[in-house]
Symmetry: C2
Subunit: 214 residues, 2 copies
DNA sequence: GTCTTGGTTGAGTGCTCACTCAAATAGTAC
DNA sequence: GTACTATTTGAGTGAGCACTCAACCAAGAC
């Protein structure tokens, strides 16, 4: 079961960054958890940020087998797959008593300004995630309003998930999470029941007229 | 224009925490920005976390005059006020080139696990914010489906806002933000056009049946 | 004047941070 | 075996961290 040094470091850093954040996790703690010596880390990763990048690459490379596949294999309906994926995050909150949330979202707000290479990889992770959702929505295109932008709707789903996880962890309660998902479900129900052609809502983008834009 | 030492410290810490996060901001940087000496900080705040708490109390005490009032005074329609508030966050992203987001959301994911007193105050801030949205929704109750839970819908609005700000900052683009708000607007349009009595969507809470819950 | 009190000063504390490096060792080629 | 490279070792670096503290100051009470 012994993995190589590099992998052990990535896994240890992945878990600690998820639990405590990037800045609050020390290099010493990572090497102790991985069971390697400080010098070894710097043989593979010149800086702490390089290790962070490796962690984000790990998430990128394990989206399917770690996150999607377990849901896809027990749910067939494409719309239910979307909500099944969201429910996976709810289960993570439940299992960890709200200590762990979305690994990427955690790091995004902490590091988006200061670590551009990491930010680019977070972006890749988000785009991959929404791409998977988008495939579900495309598979259900016949039930959705004709002409709806599934890419846009997939982004909305990610938005709701990230916000819901944030609020649930802050409140240490499922209430905000379940409320947000309930309204997302209600929105989907209305889209699915629509049967008409999609047209962008009248008020969008909101209030540009009030800001003096012409 | 010289404020007292305590206020200068709170303002300096507020701005630095917003821009760089809590752990990445050093005490020395805060006192330098505030133009006070290190010892003075500890006269008012025994620990760094106490300063964080004071910052969160500042946000709590300035929600109305800092955030709501500027929007309320130029928009009367309660539903448009909701989207006007959201647009305020878009303007913040625009003005700062995606460097600044929601001050509370920023700290929430970084510190929810490790700083319980701060977490409690973030919760208060979120509850206040959704309370203001809820008042708008109540004022528009005659146009919304009868019996809809405005508290729940207000939480959904906060969820979308926090997720949208996170994605916009990660992508350094308005695209995810505008997409999320567009779908929220579309959802509102459908609620407002509904004219019937509210009933919870059939699929909620999602997939409990698939997890063996009875 | 003296006393007290709230606030200020700024050098200094011990500690942990990310990171270094020369030496030792393991693995592979021939 | 030797030669060479890849990897590991672990004590050690300077810098910055949150935080301390004894002395000092200013202003009001008497």
């Amino acid at each position: 079961m012994e993995a190589n040094t590099r992998d052990r470091l990535v896994v240890a850093a992945r878990d600690l960054f998820l639990a405590k954040g990037y800045n609050a996790t020390g290099i010493n703690e990572i090497v102790r958890t991985a069971g390697v010596h400080p010098g070894s880390l710097y043989h593979y990763f010149p800086t702490k940020e390089d290790l962070l990048v490796a962690v984000l690459e790990w998430y990128r490379d394990h989206l399917y087998d770690g996150l999607l596949q377990p849901v896809w294999e027990r749910i067939d309906d494409p719309v239910e797959r979307v909500f099944g994926l969201l429910d996976g995050y709810r289960q993570l909150l439940e299992m960890t008593n709200f200590d762990l949330g979305c690994p990427i979202g955690n790091l995004a707000l902490e590091l988006a300004n200061s670590h551009p290479k990491a930010r680019a990889l977070m972006q890749v992770n988000f785009v991959q995630w929404t791409g998977a959702i988008r495939e579900c929505l495309d598979a259900a295109a016949d039930r959705l309003p004709e002409g709806i932008d599934t890419d846009s709707l997939a982004t909305h789903v990610l938005t709701v998930m990230e916000g819901a996880v944030m609020l649930a962890r802050t409140q240490r309660s499922f209430e905000p999470f379940d409320r947000a998902i309930l309204h997302l479900r209600d929105y989907f129900d209305r889209l699915l029941a629509d049967g008409t052609t999609w047209s962008a809502p009248v008020g969008c983008r909101p209030l540009s007229h009030l800001r003096g834009d012409e």
